[in-house]
Symmetry: C2
Amino acid sequence: MSTLSTKADDIARALEDEIVSGAIAPGAVLRQESLSERFDVSRTPVREALRRLAALGLVSFEPNRGVRVRSITAHELREAFLVRAELEALATEIATPKMTPADLAELDAIERRFGELTLELRGHARSQAPRDAGLFVEWMQANYAFHDVIYRVADVPLVERIAKSARRTFLGDRVWSARAELDELYAKNDLQHRAIRETIAAGSASAARALAREHVLSSSRLIEVVLETLGAAGREPGWGG
Amino acid sequence: MSTLSTKADDIARALEDEIVSGAIAPGAVLRQESLSERFDVSRTPVREALRRLAALGLVSFEPNRGVRVRSITAHELREAFLVRAELEALATEIATPKMTPADLAELDAIERRFGELTLELRGHARSQAPRDAGLFVEWMQANYAFHDVIYRVADVPLVERIAKSARRTFLGDRVWSARAELDELYAKNDLQHRAIRETIAAGSASAARALAREHVLSSSRLIEVVLETLGAAGREPGWGG
DNA sequence: ATTGGCTATCTTGGATCCAAGAATGGCTAC
DNA sequence: GTAGCCATTCTTGGATCCAAGATAGCCAAT
């Protein structure tokens, strides 16, 4: 059997997902032993996976003490958004003159779907419906899909990689409990996507850049408001846990 | 004895330096066994170090075949400069309103030193002096020092980290053999630094941003010319090597 | 002579083993 | 009763060991 991936890689990916999705809380301490029995491997590939996560900045090693999931400060979060704003703006500018009619059509389709989901979500938000997690995930995916088309057309893998790693410097879904505050985000995102698409279609690269930048920055501002609303709710498990 | 760093970390740092400096050629295959005896450790910490380098994008694992130092394409190099341009521009804009007179004085001192080195280097370049490697390194350090002041004032560690990792996506010193072509770079860099400093001193954040961006982009264009001049000189050692 | 296949060797990926540093809990002295 | 010290236990960092995949060299058959 030809192993196309190594166990360390698989474990790294799995842990990465859990960390960025918030399934593993920031500040949590990762024990090599428990991870190794959970993935049913020895500690060796686990440690290699942890090394990778450390290089990505997701966890930090403390020699002879273990690894802990890095928690992100408000300052870092703001920076991550700034980086995303610049890089997504750059990608948008590069993509604009390369857009084919087919690409524009794809953007349009995603936009339409995104609009539907937005309406639905806003309805749920108002009615305080108990269970819209799946819907929210779908909305999120449509949101990312829009940007992914732009990255694909721009053909800037390095920019894309960095921007996405900044994108994932995110908080768990606990942020999304602030439904009311997010209502504004839903609507704004929708409008901004439309505006960006129109500007791209018109071929104004620099205008599209500016819109893309403002798009990311405005969600940054909103997220900050949400965080303030939630307060410093991030409990940080200590070493004893 | 309290080990403040782990062997894997030390090895990773050492290899990182050698790779970015070009001491280890792109395309080279790294054997775990030889590395382990070179650093006088077992293969375990070596592999952890390699995992870190892989996460940083400096090497790539091919399962059951080994690790190879990633070679950079012209496209990737251009992208790295684009990323640097955006992020250094951002940092400059953020730093501008935060600049104290002391910071400006420091910038000025570095600039002056930079100017001297530039003059010296240009003289050497014209006379085809045989040995100015040390001088060039000094020039490079002064160049980076200028930008480092800006980063320090801007206080954006994430932006700084990403920009610097893009900065290091560089070629070995073989690029710098193209003396004649670099003459232009020397002069231009000097002028641009002065302009940036003046604009920062004047407090025009957005103008400083634009200048910083153009500064990086112009060196990008120049490097491309140099690369064309050198031709596709990158020989790529195969697996057999 | 060349090509195909087989075997021997090399290297990696992973498991297990060992030593050293850090937390914990109990004991003693005040 | 409390504070400090020492031993026990736990966990990590690193070394060694083993199996599986990959490369290379050799031989045979056409």
